[in-house]
């Protein structure tokens, strides 16, 4: 009879990187489907273009760095980053916009820092912010939800449009600012919140369509929690951080300030809380630190939305919080078991 001698560690990690990434992709599906349903195939074209280009960039850089290509491509981390990046873009973005953004995301955001696991900033957000400050016109032309504009493009037309092979007639009937953008512009025109919300783009909770998409992200977020891909600390803290400010200010001034519910269901706060802020590489690593980190993102989003120059601030908030992660981690190191607190 033979016995197998096994050395520690006896508890093997339950999830590989690949399994984690597949869980995130499954979590992204409901929200993405809602997004495509309301805004047409342009969303899908963005995602496919971004993933394809991301894999090409990843392969080129890995080749330059003499790293094995296949294991890095099949761990799906590039796919997740590209997917998240594509969701930030306006629908039917021109191909070169996706190319530049994903190039920044993969090369400057990820590989210049040493690749997956070494990047201090969320790569998808690095790519998005680079585009946002470089191409303000292209990055703020959004579509109306199809239920309002009553027009839709077929998949082939969407694809052709991204490559400049197809012209949209009556462009004005299609395009519109996002609800958050409209709200912000309305405020600068000294309109009260109740007047701004008369516009047909606003629904019961947030913007028409946007509230359902946010619901989709919420379902995906719960899947991430149930499958233990992420911990509850960061999403809860992000939402609390936002609600803390939004509720406080709403009760002080209900006439001009948007309700906390509108803030929660507009823009990208839910996807940001569950999918972007929780990136294990760039988020804080201790549980206490994660709460501070999440609160900071939530508060910064509200501050940027209310007093900043941009209508939404999730990307900037995440990048700023990423910057503080080493500091947060340093001050929230848990007590070593058996050791003493320094205060005692």
């Amino acid at each position: 009879m033979t016995s197998v001698i096994v050395s520690s560690p006896y508890v093997s990690p339950s999830k590989s990187l690949r399994q984690l990434m597949i869980n995130v992709i499954i979590g992204l599906v409901p929200g993405t489907l809602a997004y495509i349903w309301f805004f047409g195939y342009g969303v899908l074209v963005n995602i496919i273009l971004a993933i394809g280009l991301a894999l090409i960039f990843e392969a080129i850089v890995l080749k330059l760095r003499d790293k094995p290509i296949k294991p890095h491509l099949t761990d799906f981390s590039a796919v997740v980053a590209a997917w998240l990046f594509a969701l930030c873009l306006p629908m039917n973005s021109p191909w070169w916009l996706v190319l530049i953004g994903i190039g920044f995301c993969m090369i400057a955001g990820k590989h210049l820092y040493g690749g997956l696991g070494f990047n201090p900033f969320n790569p998808a957000m690095v790519g998005y912010v680079a585009l946002l400050i470089s191409f303000p016109k292209e990055m703020t032309t959004w579509y109306l939800p199809q239920v309002i504009s009553g027009q839709s493009l077929s998949l082939i037309d969407s694809l052709a449009y991204s490559f400049g092979l197809f012209e949209i007639e009556h462009w004005d009937a299609f395009s519109s600012a996002t609800p958050l953008d409209q709200y912000k512009t309305g405020l600068t025109q000294n309109l009260a919140a109740s007047e701004i919300f008369q516009s047909p783009v606003f629904g019961a909770l947030g913007g028409v369509g946007w509230e359902w998409i946010a619901g989709g992200w919420l379902i995906g977020g719960f899947w991430l929690l149930i499958s233990r891909t992420i911990n509850w600390h960061i999403p809860v803290a992000v939402v609390c951080g936002l609600l803390l400010f939004a509720t406080g200010r709403y009760f002080l001034d209900t006439a001009t300030v948007a309700s906390p519910v509108f803030h929660l269901f507009s823009g990208s706060i839910i996807i940001g809380a569950f999918f972007i802020a929780t990136d294990p590489v760039t988020a804080a690593t201790t549980n206490k630190g994660r709460i501070y980190y999440g609160l900071m993102i939530g508060m910064l989003v509200y501050i940027i939305r209310s007093w900043g120059g941009y209508p939404d601030g999730v990307a900037f908030a995440v990048l700023l919080a990423n910057m503080c992660v080493p500091l947060i981690d340093y001050y929230t190191q848990p007590r070593i078991y058996g050791g003493q607190d320094q205060d005692e």
């Binding site: 530049i100 400050i133 470089s134 191409f135 016109k137 292209e138």
Partner: protein
């Protein structure tokens, strides 16, 4: 003993202010959004370097070493003030574009560095040559970086050349692509960091491909230090 050719090579390449010493980054990063801005600031810095190196070298026998740094700073500040007033008089539009960065040449570490490191120990002729070559190396980097950022950022080259060379120079402006929307990142501060980093990468790659003999000289110099 340093020969003139060594001084030239050091100023333009092996010891380039911007690419190797990484001095004077503040003006380098701030004003190089177009070629004309880069050339304008580069010329002002070049003149400052030549004049301050010459003056420092002239007085190097009289100044006690305890007070040499304040004296150097006074000389540099006076030279920069003269250049600032001259630019105000003759190139007022360019002066408005470069603005605060003209007086800030005073704080360019390359200038006090050359005064302390070279001009205070060498005769007038070589000091002036050193100032010229260091300034010229800086000017080249400023122009190239300005060109890089202008092409990517605006899709033009030599825009606003009339600010510096008079109205006749307007014809110099090249519009590479009239439909180009512009890539704002290249014009904003991050673009300057990316651009400078790319230039340093190119320089280092070129050095790596050089024959080993010329690098051996550099290494022996380092050993002597």
């Amino acid at each position: 003993m340093t020969t003139n050719s060594e001084i030239t090579q050091s100023g333009l390449w092996t010891n380039n202010v911007a690419l190797v010493q990484l001095l004077g980054l503040c003006p380098l990063l701030a004003v190089t959004s177009t070629v004309v801005n880069g050339v304008g600031l580069g010329l002002a810095t070049l003149v400052t370097l030549v004049v301050s190196n010459t003056l420092v070298s002239l007085i190097r026998g009289f100044v006690r070493s305890e007070v040499r740094l304040p004296v150097f700073v006074l000389i540099i500040a006076s030279v920069v003030t003269i250049i600032e007033l001259a630019m105000k008089a003759f190139f007022y539009d360019l002066y408005l574009v470069l603005g605060i960065f003209i007086p800030l040449i005073v704080t360019n570490c390359a200038i006090i560095g050359r005064a302390e490191g070279f001009a205070s120990k060498n005769p007038v002729g070589t000091s002036a040559l050193d100032g010229f070559m260091m300034g010229f190396g800086f000017l080249i980097v400023l122009s190239v970086l300005g060109g890089l950022r202008e092409i990517i950022g605006f899709g033009t080259l030599f825009a606003n050349a009339n600010l510096m060379f008079g109205e006749a120079a307007s014809v110099l402006t090249i519009v590479l692509n009239a439909d180009y929307g512009g890539f704002l990142l290249a014009v904003l501060p991050p673009g300057a960091f990316f651009g400078l980093a790319i230039l340093i990468v190119i320089k280092n790659l070129m050095d790596e491909r050089k024959p080993v003999t010329s690098r051996a000289v550099d290494d022996s110099l380092v050993d002597n230090l």
